[in-house]
Amino acid sequence: MKSTKFLLATTALTVAAGGAFADDHMADEMTIVSWGGAYSNSQQKAYHEPYMEKTGVTIVNDESSNEAVAKLRAMDEAGNITWDVVDVVAADALRLCDEGLAMEIDPDEHLAPAPDGTSAEDDFGDLLVGDCFIPQIVYSTTFGYRTDMVPEGVEPPNDICDVFDTETYPGKRSLEKRPINNMEWALLCDGVAKEDVYDVLETSEGQQQALDKLDTIKDDVIWWSAGADTPQLLADGEVFMGSTYNGRLFSVIEEQDQPVAMMWDAQVFDLDGWIIPAGLPEDRLARAMDFIYFATDTQRLADQAKYISYGPARESSAPMVGKHAELGIEMAPHMPTDPDNAENTFLYNYEFWADYRDDIDAKFQAWLAQ
């Protein structure tokens, strides 16, 4: 009797499971790649956990976004794509798209419309910078400085050119060990008008001009390569001011209570978002698409801002940004896109850097080695 029951139950279960599988053809495990740290954490809270709860899928987190391009190339060559959804910066997404390693996604067909019915394409607007890339957040690279290292009787730094003014603001600065952003800031502070920066930077004289400007503070610069470096250097008091991602500075200031303040001037906006690797088998592709649809809707993007101070990429999400989940402070004034913070901004120039990156990189590295 008992065994018959058991048999019946297992049969029923198998049938049910088989039926469910036949229904939607979706894989029940997926690997999502992201950056790690506080950023991954915010995604897990805002996207992964609700999605797992809703669908019962297991999400495995891989913190390999830093080497995503290289690894996706290797996977493609080995014919063994193990990732389902990958978080990359826009520049990497454009490269992957060009190489055919990422799938093209039509926003109107595959993404949720805004609550008021606006199509996804209009809702994301200009931020849809590539055919394969679904933007998630707007982040910015900007400066933070130690409030207790400002010399007495001097205004705290609030202008990008204060970075180059080592007389008024003595102390070390930390800058990213790559030409992007640094060259723009250097030209801006060497008298080049903002709208002419990229025209000047196209010429080799312009590149030299930027390097010459950087040369004036070279002895005072500590170069960073990981996003965590500048927060560490600021907390140590090793540097007076340093550039890093605004979310990192938010964490240093609000969560870690360090004597640090933001200098939003000439912050450079950049985008981070999802791509789906090309060549996934059907069931995994369906799962990845379903996840993307869920994770990039208006509410989910606004939710992420509860955990980290990056601006949601959808216009319709902005009014829904609320308070920090643990600290309870209003997040809107900490967003890089907040009007008070965004008086003077750049948007990462994807086209320019795609064309000139190799060339300027070589010059920059040569200059560094001098």
Binding site: T31, V33, W35, G36, G37, A38, Y39, S40, V60, N61, D62, E63, S64, N66, A74, M75, E77, A78, G79, N80, T82, A226, G227, A228, D229, P231, Q232, A235, D236, Q256
Partner: protein, 396 residues
């Protein structure tokens, strides 16, 4: 004091003692000066101050007042240290003072020759101490980075920083929260579990295969012994990144990439060379006639191996196994390629942690790992000594 002494202790002229202590003072001054902002000034000040102290002690106060002079130096340096760096400065200053007080008299009174044979030339004496100083410095440079990490892991803040509270030895500045984080955070626990489940299996495989290979390769009749040996040892010589990339493509084709067994096999391949090398070295001292004697008495090869050969080469097998274990436990490059997120090991987690978020949890993990390594090595060393003593291989 006996009438005839071989000790060669005599007071040295000031023209010898002062430059020597001055130089030592300058060297110490370099560090203090650099910390205060000017290395060159530190060297000059250090050399001047210590030479002056040397002159006061040796030239004016002399040997009779040694106790007073040395305490005076300790107090003076402690006060100077306190002025420069509060409480920690006081401790460091007092230590400096103690050292220099001792050093001035040690040089000035010629005590440094006390324990040396009397016929050494000055050059040989100099080399005798230079050699010790070099050894000490090597030791210092190897150990310091490990030691620095330990107090930082008890930091109450989320940065790799000695906070003012920590330097004041204020309990507020210390906390166990990074250890708590390690033991409660699911990511770290998963990584720990992965490491613990991968390393022993990889070690078992490398020890079995490595020992068999070493025994086979040490018998005369195996053809191409050198070539086979070279191939088996190659994972140790070929840059890791190349092995890793090769394994990645190979395992991808076999469907092993991103699986538990893929990582285990990769780590076993990395561990085998260590086992082969240590076991081969032990086999050099192994007397082959013992196996022939066993065979003569009717033992089959398997029994001979386990009853006769294995116990004798066990120390080599164990130390090879230890190296294989540590290789797997510490390895980050290969697992980044061959593993997938499901096989994230501790070093991998530490690597991404360092890159994305400099959190002292990494230091807490590092401290725990150092403690485990020390325990492991001590245990193995004790076991080895015990077995040697039991078998009468060494008198100790």
């Amino acid at each position: 004091m006996s009438a005839i002494t071989l000790e060669h202790v005599e007071k040295k002229p000031l023209s010898f003692a002062l430059p020597v202590v001055g130089a030592a003072g300058g060297f110490a001054g370099l560090f203090v000066g650099t910390a205060q902002g000017s290395g060159i000034l530190g060297v000059a000040a250090g050399a001047g101050i210590i030479a002056l102290m040397g002159f006061l002690c040796l030239g004016i106060l002399g040997k009779e007042m040694e106790r007073v002079a040395r305490w005076g130096i300790v107090v003076l340096m402690a006060v100077a240290g306190f002025l420069l760096g509060a409480l920690p400065g006081l401790v460091v200053g007092a230590l400096f003072g103690w050292f220099f007080g001792w050093f001035i008299y040690w040089i000035g009174e010629g005590r440094y020759r006390a324990k040396l044979v009397p016929y050494l030339t000055p050059g040989q004496v100099l080399w005798h101490f230079t050699f010790r100083v070099i050894c000490g410095m090597i030791f210092f440079f190897l150990i310091t980075p490990i030691v620095v990490v330990m107090p930082l892991s008890f930091n109450a803040e989320n940065f790799f920083t000695f906070t003012p509270e920590m330097l004041r030895f204020d309990p507020e500045g210390y906390s166990l929260k990074h250890y708590r984080d390690f033991f409660t955070n699911a990511d770290w626990q998963q990584a720990l579990w992965n490491s613990v489940s991968i390393a022993p299996v990889a070690t078992l495989l490398s020890v079995s295969f490595g020992t068999l290979a070493a025994i086979g390769l040490s018998s005369e009749h195996v053809p191409f012994r050198r070539a086979i040996m070279a191939i088996l040892i190659s994972p140790m010589i070929v840059p890791l990144i190349i092995s890793a990339a090769g394994m990645y493509f190979f395992y991808s084709r076999l469907g092993l990439q991103g699986t538990y067994w893929g990582v285990v096999l990769a780590h076993a391949a990395l561990g085998i060379p260590f086992v082969i090398i240590t076991v081969t070295a032990t086999l050099v001292g192994f007397d082959r006639s013992l196996t022939r004697a066993a065979a003569n008495m009717g033992a089959n090869p398997v029994t001979t191996f386990f009853r006769v050969q294995m116990p004798l080469i066990l120390p080599g097998v164990i130390s090879g196994g230890l190296f294989a274990f540590i290789t797997s436990f510490d390895e980050v490059v290969v697992v980044l390629f061959v593993g997938s997120a499901g096989q994230k090991t501790l070093p991998w987690q530490m690597f991404t942690g360092l890159r994305e978020q400099i959190s002292p949890t990494i230091l807490a993990v590092a401290t725990i790992l150092v403690a485990i390594s020390i325990c492991l090595l001590t245990t193995v060393e004790l076991l080895r000594r015990r077995s040697e003593r039991l078998r009468g291989m060494s008198p100790g």
